[in-house]
């Protein structure tokens, strides 16, 4: 067990290293087209000014020196955006409450909803309910969040005046307003996941149903409800939980760009979208790395958790 965990953790650290290098090359070297100094200096700068900036920011140094310096800046919390001038980590910190509120609320909602709908579809497999749920889940996975968000904002927010149009209110300011502002985003973000998860859970349950131990449980005379909850669901939920962990990691790391942008929540995802518009490479670098780190750490955690639960995986 200890060996498995150590090996998994080493892979995780190597992955983080690889991601930081790839992201650095992508954003700092490729995105500004080879000369970030020209981008900072602006269109009217003379070559001498560009050179000055390039020396000041260290763009004239070899790439690996720049890499180490940039990473040092990020991890010591002193990375500044070239074009906007703010401290990137502080800016991300400002966006985190909105993003975490969005992720937690939506995450709980989509997990519970997909467990309920997936189980229902599996129990009624082949019947009318199952078919309706299948088509509904197809609509869900085919619905881009920004479109669903726009439709909800227009009809529920603007026409019916039931929900605020957009924006985020701090929980501390007014819990009720916080909740009202987040209902739309929670629902919008969840729909796609509910469609996908409930399908996965449905087929996972159907697979488990034909296992021997389920037949044994039935043969023992357990009630159908008990068989379903204690024997089938417990096993079938494993793939769902691991998917959920990875998706939550992405959303917390700013992956819900579309939902955050359409509702203008000013979270981490929207910061990333705005950074793209401004060619704000340092901010992008930090956010993309944050997201990727969240995913890598979460996937390592899930693997370890699986190994704890199922001894066959510890190779």
């Amino acid at each position: 067990m200890a060996r498995f965990v150590t090996r998994r953790l080493i892979t995780m650290v190597l992955m983080i290293l690889a991601i930081s290098v790839v992201t650095f090359l992508l954003f700092i070297v490729a995105l500004p087209g080879g000369n970030p100094a020209a981008l900072i200096a602006g269109r009217l700068a003379t070559p001498a000014e560009v050179h000055l900036i390039s020396v000041r920011y260290g763009f004239d140094k070899p790439i690996w020196v720049q890499y180490i310096k940039t990473m040092g800046n990020i991890f010591s919390g002193s990375a500044y955006s070239y074009s906007q001038g703010y401290n990137v980590l502080k800016q991300i910190g400002k966006g985190l409450p909105a993003t975490v509120s969005l992720a937690l609320g939506a995450g709980i909602f989509w997990l519970l909803a997909s467990i309920a709908l997936g189980t229902l579809a599996a129990v009624r497999s082949g019947k009318y309910t199952d078919r309706v749920l299948t088509v509904l889940s197809m609509v869900g996975v085919s619905m881009p969040p920004f479109l669903l968000g726009a439709v909800i904002i227009y009809y529920v927010g603007y026409k019916l005046n039931l929900l605020p149009l957009s924006g985020y209110v701090q929980f501390g300011t007014s819990p009720w307003q916080w909740f009202k502002h987040l209902i739309g985003p929670w629902f919008t973000l969840s729909v796609l996941f509910i469609g996908f998860y409930s399908r996965v859970l449905r087929s996972s349950i159907l697979d488990t149903m034909s296992e021997d131990y389920v037949r044994t449980a039935r043969a023992k005379g357990l009630s159908e409800r008990r068989v379903l909850v204690k024997h089938i669901l417990r096993m079938s939920l494993l793939p769902i939980i691991s998917l959920w962990g990875l998706d939550m990691a992405q959303v917390i790391g700013g992956g819900a760009i579309l939902t955050e942008t359409i509702y203008s929540l000013h979270g981490v995802g929207q910061l990333a979208a705005m950074a793209i518009g401004n060619f704000d490479t340092v901010t992008l670098l930090c956010i993309v790395m944050l997201t990727a780190f969240c995913v890598v750490v979460m996937s390592a955690l899930i693997d370890v958790l699986y190994a704890v639960l199922d001894p066959r995986i510890r190779l």
Partner: protein, 339 residues
């Protein structure tokens, strides 16, 4: 990853009623899948819907020239049209575009914020969305399959390199990676790729999804390569290339085919998402994504301009998804957890 079984039970092949000596003629997996798919009425219905949508979008120039008599980029800021006997402005005095006239000859679905015919733009935009989706899907499928086969067949170093690279790509959220890569191309260009081609978006979208194919293909190659027919091929002295493409690939086809509609749907959605964020298709080209994006600019006025391309987008993606779901059931009825 659960290994996906590729053998099909021949439970539906015709049996000799006499229980005679001759075995019934074998029926290919695709013929069998087609038989199963045909029985799935929902999938067939949406398959036909999808084909109709594609044909409609391909007919965009015909509609534009011969029916609506207006180009996709023809602006009409001050014009008036006759609706139900009285003249109406295409753009009202408050700049709100006209809604659907339901008159096939002009502004069938209304106008956009510059007075352009929404129905004409919808068809042209659909062409762009479908073209990008198709090219991106082909890129994903071809490279994903190749990398998956190489990775599973050679194992060892090649596998480590490919799998870890895929892990890295997988760690980025698809939308975030997509907008970044495409912004690089839009701003700096990359060889023949620049902002005015649809190809750059297609390549980026295709690239982002490659790991989704590599993993399942690799998993299946890992089990296939231990089978007798691969051993036999190796004993005969066939080259690695011939074993991979002549022996393994045909056995992978059903796994790969299952992913085609899924990837097409995902690619169309990702293209729309990139275009919505302004990092996808660039003017003067337009796609459903850019139409939604420009429709949202004057929100809440003229919500029609968001709804029309939106409904088209969802309808298209949904029919591909439902068709794909049916295809998966037909090709691989015993597959394990479906993703």
């Amino acid at each position: 990853m659960t290994a996906i079984k590729s053998e099909i039970l021949f439970d539906e092949s015709p049996r000799d009623p006499e229980g005679g000596q001759d075995l019934p003629p074998g029926i290919g997996i695709y013929a069998l899948a087609w038989k199963r798919l045909r029985r799935n009425r929902v999938a067939m219905f949406f398959g036909i819907v999808f084909i109709l949508l594609v044909v409609l979008c391909l007919l965009a120039p015909v509609y534009s020239q011969d029916v609506a008599h207006i180009g996709p980029n023809t602006e009409n800021l001050t014009g008036q049209i006759r609706v139900g006997g009285k003249l109406e402005y295409v753009l009202s005095l408050q700049d709100v575009p006209i809604g659907p006239t339901w008159n096939i000859h002009h502004y069938f679905l209304g106008a956009d914020e510059s007075g352009r015919d929404l129905a004409v733009r919808l068809l042209y935009g659909g062409r762009a969305s479908l073209e990008i989706g198709l090219v991106a899907m082909l890129i994903t499928m071809i490279f994903g399959t190749m990398l998956g086969v190489i990775s599973g067949y050679f194992r060892g170093f090649a596998d480590g390199l490919i799998s870890r690279t895929m892990d890295v790509i997988w760690s980025y959220p698809a939308v975030l990676l997509g907008i970044t890569l495409n912004t690089v191309i839009i701003v700096n260009g990359l060889g023949p790729l620049h902002s005015t081609t649809l190809l750059s978006t297609a390549i980026v979208v295709g690239f982002v999804y490659i790991p989704y194919i590599v993993r399942p293909v690799r998993a299946q190659v890992l089990t296939l390569r231990e089978r007798e027919f691969v051993d036999a091929a190796r004993q005969q002295g066939l080259s690695h290339t011939r074993i991979m493409f002549g022996e393994l690939l045909p056995n992978l086809s059903s796994t790969v085919v299952v992913f085609i509609p899924l990837m097409l749907a995902n690619s169309i959605i990702l293209e729309a998402a990139l275009s919505y964020l302004g990092a996808g298709v660039q003017a003067p080209n337009s796609s459903w994504g850019t139409m939604i994006q420009s429709g949202l600019q004057n929100f809440p006025g003229g919500f029609n301009t968001v709804l029309v391309p939106g409904i088209m987008l969802v309808l298209t993606v949904m029919s591909v998804n439902i068709l794909g779901d049916g295809l998966r059931d037909a090709l691989d009825p015993r597959s394990k957890v479906k993703v």
